[in-house]
């Protein structure tokens, strides 16, 4: 662990993830299929099946899931969390598994890294950009009379604090 990672923060992050894993309640799942049948992604992507994911978590086979790319193709529509009769939330399980996958150094879609870098550097996921109108004219915040975009006052402090947390989480 390189020195600029704060031990205490790493400790804290794993404690939190442990707690969330224990609160997954995957073991009480009745395998009824309500989550998968309401999931917009399961219809189009063969491999994505929230019910089977929960079945594997209940059997303790989480490492297998961390390596697979299925945990990254959830569209966060929360229908599974809303409708599960046992109050299990495949969505929250997926978020925790994503965090664990990142800590374990497994590959994940590049898009997330770009966003994290941008936020660390500019405080926002996207810098204000030029947009075009229907008539293909170019506009930006200024030309539209909008106030300049906001970002954290002390970017250096912000980067330092957020960077520490992210590194403790084992990514970035």
């Amino acid at each position: 662990m390189s020195d600029d990672i704060d031990k205490e923060q790493v400790e804290f992050v794993s404690l939190l993830l442990q707690r969330e894993v224990s609160e997954m309640d995957a073991e009480v799942c009745e395998q009824c299929g309500k989550c998968t049948s309401a999931c917009p992604v399961a219809i189009y992507m063969e491999g994505f099946n929230p019910r089977r994911l929960i079945a594997k978590v209940a059997l303790g086979r989480t490492d297998e899931l961390l390596e697979s790319d299925t945990i990254w193709t959830c569209t966060s529509c929360l229908k599974c969390k809303e409708r599960c009769p046992e109050n299990i939330s495949p969505y929250d399980v997926i978020l925790v598994l994503r965090n664990l996958a990142v800590r374990a150094g497994h590959p994940y879609p590049a898009g997330y890294d770009e966003t994290i870098k941008a936020v660390l550097e500019y405080g926002v996921a996207q810098q204000p950009r030029m947009v075009r109108t229907r008539a293909h004219e170019r506009r930006d915040r200024a030309s539209l009379g909008l106030p300049p975009a906001e970002k954290p006052r002390d970017m250096k402090k912000f980067n330092e604090v957020l960077g520490g947390i992210v590194r403790a989480g084992g990514s970035g």
Partner: protein
Amino acid sequence: MTMGEPIVPRIGVFVCHCGINIGGIVDVPSVVEYAEKLPGVVYAEDNLYSCSSDGLNKLKEGIKQHNLNRVVVASCTPRTHESLFQDACEEAGLNKYLFEMANIRDQCSWVHMHEPEAATEKAKGLVRMAVAKARLLEPQEEPEIDINPTSLVIGGGISGLTSALSLSEQGFKVHLVEKQPELGGMLLQLEKLFPSDRDSMELLRPRIDSARSNPNIELHTTSKVKSVKGFIGNFDVEIESQEGDVKKLNVGTIIVATGAENLEPVGLYGYGEDERVITQLQLEKMFKDGSLEGVRTVVMIQCVGSRNEERPYCSRVCCNEAVKNALLLLKESGTRREVYILYRDLQTYGTHYSSMEWDAKKQGVKLIKYQAERPPEVISERDAVIVNVYSPLLDEEMSLRSDLVVLSTPLIPTEDAKELSQLLKVPLNSDGFFMEAHVKLRPIDFATDGIYLCGTAHSPKDVSESISQALGVASRAAIPMARGRLRTAAITAEVDESKCSGCGTCIELCPYNAITKDEREIARITSAVCKGCGVCGASCPERAITMHHFTDEQLGAEGLAALGRVDD
């Protein structure tokens, strides 16, 4: 045959719509019109529901107003409604055997749903036949018999004990017969009872003690029923003990509580070859002897030998038994244990078993569904028993290394069930368990009056359900015994002494052995035992036996009416 001048028949015909069950297909008004013109019929009407209190009132008023001496109701099946209409006739002062039913629903409108005209013609035909028979009906008197307020309970398990105790508390004398030396039945083999892990002896001990000390209960252990003769209120029973001495008893009612046995799954999943493959009952024994150290991983397999071709029924208790034992395995051990249950459909029904399943899952019991067409495969290896199973829910072939494989086997009928059913002349169903009178509304009575049924002899069930059924029969059996007297049906056979040649054919064939020879070698029928099945009447070479209410003349008239001949 009653003498005196022949009575002029004044028949009333009541045709039922049964909502649209009949009226929707058969043109009921035209049947009424047709019935009015039949010889002997003086009144006919139709109504929406004859079985409703309004319909019955119309029937009674009809009898009084038109002083009918015969009644025909054309409606549904006599099986459920004949006694209802007969009682109504009796209330209107008409002997209830001067009544005939024509089934124009099950045997007409329901089966000819798509040919209304033909159905209407057939309905008229059925009414014509009923009227033809009604013209020749004669009043019958129902014999009254005394009921001996003593009961025989066969089987000393939890069911037999519970019904015997309740009957004795209600003041009746009970003979409790048990073929084993001690009472308790299957519960003796169980350690803990679901859903609340109660110790089985805690349930049995008080019942056995009070049975032994109860003055009203006479125990006959290591004894079997040798023979049963007679009828409700007056059964002559012989009890034979192991040593061979025979006791004669007379009892008013009999309760079958002979329980069930557990299937030995020989040849299934390696049972019998590998001693690490056991049944749930053997697991119960291992809990009792505490011989489960070192057992880390246990795989249970459900529906072993049940819900298949040979035994198509679900044995109801094995899933809950498995879940209970799985919970005990996890709670009992100090070491981390893994328990898998391989199931097809988990039968954890009702409030108590659903929460037991929930606890088991919370404690970490792993449920794996398998499909009947791809059962698990058990392979014995030196230091583990491998169970391969295809899980459709994961679409994966799983391989489990286990220290113990526990097979959940069904409850099956006891081997002496067949013998007892012949002794008591009560039927067994296709699964080999005793068959009740009506699965829905008379679940604990037999069709034969005076004989009742409870516990796993009826079908697999758990302890609390057996206790409920045992208490149930304690009430059912108490009814005739509390009343002390009972009127039995008058549809019985009678021998014409002048014609009987004493050949004994009828005695041979009577399924209820209701016929004996008197000193003059003439056959004599005890009407209380006779069920009116008609076997003797049909088989008598001398035509010496007449069936009351189904005499040859009556059936002859009905037959001719069927062919369209209506003249007297």
